[in-house]
Symmetry: none
DNA sequence: TTGTAATCTAATAGC
DNA sequence: GCTATTAGATTACT
């Protein structure tokens, strides 16, 4: 059990999720209320809808249950499990890089980290540059399923709003703030620059770019 | 001269400044009158006062003169030059990212941009979203000196009024509208949220939410 | 080395 | 002014 990569991965997932879900084991009802979760999503959820939009799964709990399973700790089985906890079948399943990967020791969270991340990015404003020990978030890797799903959504709309991002979060198991970052990076890398105003392609642009809308941005395929 | 980053930087600064100072080469007297510039600044100008508050320097002109100097174009030398034109010593001196950095071609300003920016932000309300060629402002980077100065002022007073901001503008060479934005962003990032009343940390967080200002405001001045 | 998650910040829009 | 969000740049890690 010393260097089990799968175990490390699950532990790391569970611990990393605390960044985005500091309020541990938040009841599903509260979570749904918090997100103001709707049942209606136009078109971009039609084909990948693995989970019926009943309850927002408690991702941290799911991951911990998976951890219990691997550790052999008895626990009650839950039904639904988002993509993040669907393991096997992939060498690059969602992984989090930890500093001391061999130890199962709990990652110590700074108070900043714990008080961060509620619903919006604005709540995550760092109070003070303060000390040098910034302790940035550990890099997480998403598995092929998750990546493919996000890529597909990206082709539909590179600018998903908060509600859509929460939907992606429910389906993929990736916390909404991570989804936000994923789309940001994706846009930065694969979206045509504003200096390229040609190619008025198809009517993909559902979400609007606030300033330099630049009309037809060619983000095909991805 | 093709890929001189310093040249690019100065050119970009000069062109970018047109956003904030569309009335080119405004005489200093007019500028001072426009700003209603005072001689008195309580405490927060005591240690960084590089320039005596004589005349509000024409920043655009200074930058253009610097450009002339680099280009070898003869010009009359001027005395004062704010931080923005103090170059060297820093890899991250005030820089503007241009799309075609190798070309010295003039950035084309939209009519909106030209009719914007007079004295207050209220005047900058965009008339109409108009055409798709929005062409937003290029991102500018401030050098360490400028940033440190603004940070210092921020600790003294996160809510500087217009007169103070104009003072900062004179000292740093950053246009007042940019300073306004800088403080807005700074507040959004580093000011404690009202929902987070703990973490009194060090004395940096003097700021309060503007709504409940009243009575004993902790910061002097202004 | 490449790809990409994460971070930081100037800028914009709506309220 | 605040909130939210974007682009752009950079950093770090695999």
């Amino acid at each position: 059990m010393e260097n089990d990569p799968e175990l490390d991965q699950v532990i790391c997932n569970a611990l990393s999720l605390q960044d985005d879900y500091p309020d541990l084991y938040l009841p599903s009802s509260d979570h749904d209320k918090l997100l103001g979760f709707p049942e209606t999503f136009p078109g971009f959820l039609s084909d990948m809808e693995l989970q019926p939009p009943l309850h927002n799964p408690n991702i941290l709990q799911d991951t911990l249950l998976e951890l219990y399973s691997i550790l052999g700790i008895p626990h009650e089985t839950k039904a639904s499990s988002p993509m993040a906890t669907m393991k096997g079948e992939e060498p690059t399943t969602a992984t989090c890089i930890e500093d001391q990967p061999t130890t199962g020791s709990k990652r110590h969270f700074t108070t900043e980290e714990l008080e961060n991340s509620k619903m919006t990015r604005a709540d995550k404003a760092e109070p003070i540059p303060s000390t040098s020990s910034q302790k940035s978030r550990k890099r997480t890797l998403y598995n092929k399923q998750q990546t493919l799903y996000l890529q597909k959504q990206f082709t539909f709309n590179p600018y998903p709003d908060y509600v859509s991002r929460c939907s992606f979060s429910r389906i993929t198991g990736i916390p909404e703030p991570r989804i936000q970052v994923w789309f940001q990076n994706r846009r930065a890398r694969y979206l045509a620059k504003a200096s390229n105003p040609q190619k008025t392609e198809n009517a993909v642009m559902v979400g609007r770019k606030p300033t330099l809308l630049c009309a037809g941005s060619p983000y095909p395929s991805v």
